[in-house]
Symmetry: C2
Amino acid sequence: MINKLSRMLCLASVALLGACASSGYNMPSALRGTGDLGVIIERASGSVQIVDSSQLTSIASVPGLGDLSHASLVYSRDGRYAYVFGRDGGLTKVDLLKGAIALRVMQAGNSIGGAISQDGRFVAAQNYTPGGVKIFKADTLELVADIPAAYGSEGKFSKVVGLADAPGNRFVWSLFDAGEIWTADVSDIKTPRVEKFKNIGREPYDGLITPDGRYYMAGLFGEDGMALLDMWHPEKGVRRILDGYGKGSEKLPVYKMPHLRGWAVAGRFAYVPAIGRHEVLVMDTESWKEVARVKVAGQPVFVIARPDGRQIWVNFAFPDNGQVQVIDVETRNVIKHLQPGKAVLHMEFTPRGEAVWISARDDNRVVVYDTSNFAVRKELPAQAPSGIFFTHRAARIGF
Amino acid sequence: MINKLSRMLCLASVALLGACASSGYNMPSALRGTGDLGVIIERASGSVQIVDSSQLTSIASVPGLGDLSHASLVYSRDGRYAYVFGRDGGLTKVDLLKGAIALRVMQAGNSIGGAISQDGRFVAAQNYTPGGVKIFKADTLELVADIPAAYGSEGKFSKVVGLADAPGNRFVWSLFDAGEIWTADVSDIKTPRVEKFKNIGREPYDGLITPDGRYYMAGLFGEDGMALLDMWHPEKGVRRILDGYGKGSEKLPVYKMPHLRGWAVAGRFAYVPAIGRHEVLVMDTESWKEVARVKVAGQPVFVIARPDGRQIWVNFAFPDNGQVQVIDVETRNVIKHLQPGKAVLHMEFTPRGEAVWISARDDNRVVVYDTSNFAVRKELPAQAPSGIFFTHRAARIGF
């Protein structure tokens, strides 16, 4: 009898909750999986949109995230929360299921992104001011480690760039001003084990880790070439690769620094944006030597492989930033030239690559393409959209 | 006023729901992400356990799935539902958030697994009896395509094995009795475009697709060697690889057929269970030739790479099925020998590889190891556990 009554009450509660959800009151949304959710950064308004990549719809808009120019994010291990790193040093934990901010801290004066540890327990932010890395508990955002990027003998702190996660619960990052690469093992968060690699080259401006988490590469702005660290063999130190890759050509003005984190590794080849040139470089990841160049429509910014590695999609710096080109990996030819809109800032593939979402900031829209036939499947309105991030990143190394 | 009232009702409903959940009545669980969920098949009892790989806990047990010997499953695009393929032809859609069966159909007399299309819209089951592939809508389990494995001129139907998904919304599978490989493009589900490759070798017994979805390989039981199809170039047909890989050695009795779907691709090398031998073969995926063999403790069944490709974990057929060995990819040496329990049937890595879950059927437990130091992190009770599957599979090609 009591059982029957409790059952009726439960059913009534469910019915009421349904009504609550549709009334617009900010209640927990209906039960749903998080595997096909994503977040679009709306940089001008300091808000994010939560989207559904199955239904191609926007689910919620969350305001109040501060300065989101150059913002990026990582996902919690369960795919429910996005940790958004704002340019103003704000770190915001957004609940995708409730469409609301769960937690928010101001953790620095000027920040440029972050990463989440392999086991999902720690979120790390890379900061320009004060230069260093701060590490937070993923559940509470409590500060648990502070690793200032001190260098030289004059008490200076370097801007930190290129922060990535690596297997073994490690983080790896570069010091722009110092020309160093640091790694930290956070298995015991009370005493992170930090290792420093000095004299790796001038002005590392960004970095990435290969999809298997083995090789960390930092691009150098201060000289031609890149710095490579084999994370399986840190004892071997950092080596220089692609040395002098701009040699013999006249320097072009650089309109926008390329993003290395988007670099594409397809099969054994990595596709790398050339700095200042209208070219994508193809590098053999066994010899770490350049094997080819592909001429493209402008200075590449993001060079991203479709998840199956058969296509490379490229967007460009001003004044060519209304275009996107697609390179066929087998022939290394440009096979498609698209014009998604004004000021294309980012591209994000769905997990298995059947579609790609592209943000066109100055047209205030996100365009979804079918990658098999380049048809537009959908256009979604967004306020000055920049980065787009799907939740499957939670399950990938280096995302 | 109405607003205030509805707000109070909503809050009351939430409170009631909380009580319902803790009372054990099968209500929707609390809001949660699905990215760290998984399912353990309990083969003897026809039930599955739903587990949380962050908390290392069991969340729910779902009975009523029929004969689960040799059962496998795939996940919906959103990670909420598991499609469990039972040996008795039952196809069950399990709701991980509610801990309950959402839908169930008997779709064949004898079935051996399945796959989900790249876009997540279609679930395909491979059947022994009647021999063929049936395709269902993922949301409703409505049958939308039936592709009998007819072969020869006598009206026979072949057992189907090695079904996998491939980019371009394709499926690919092998016909055991016919010695054929078929592919189907289901972009237009009303008229699936089926292509047949004949005379690919005798008795293909299982197949797998490489992580990038390009190469499909079928193992041949009726002869030494494997059949390889380049899905980027079906017009080139199927070629034979590893021809005569057992040549020159005496045949051993085969206690259990290895599972090919677990094959490991680490960097450019694939690690392949030898049939009947106490060896793991190492194959170069550029030349498709054998380059090394690793001696192991028994006849390998699953040979699986840690997600970062640095270790290969191997379990074995009877009488060596209480053991697991770990191969270091760089040195190709066995670096660890574990004894998780009696009758080890499956191993599943967490998405970024910090842990592995191993089922020990005859000890009725699942053991979770830390892959960095091989420490046991947890043991969970389970009734005759076999396959373990985490939801990140939804985002991967060929899983």
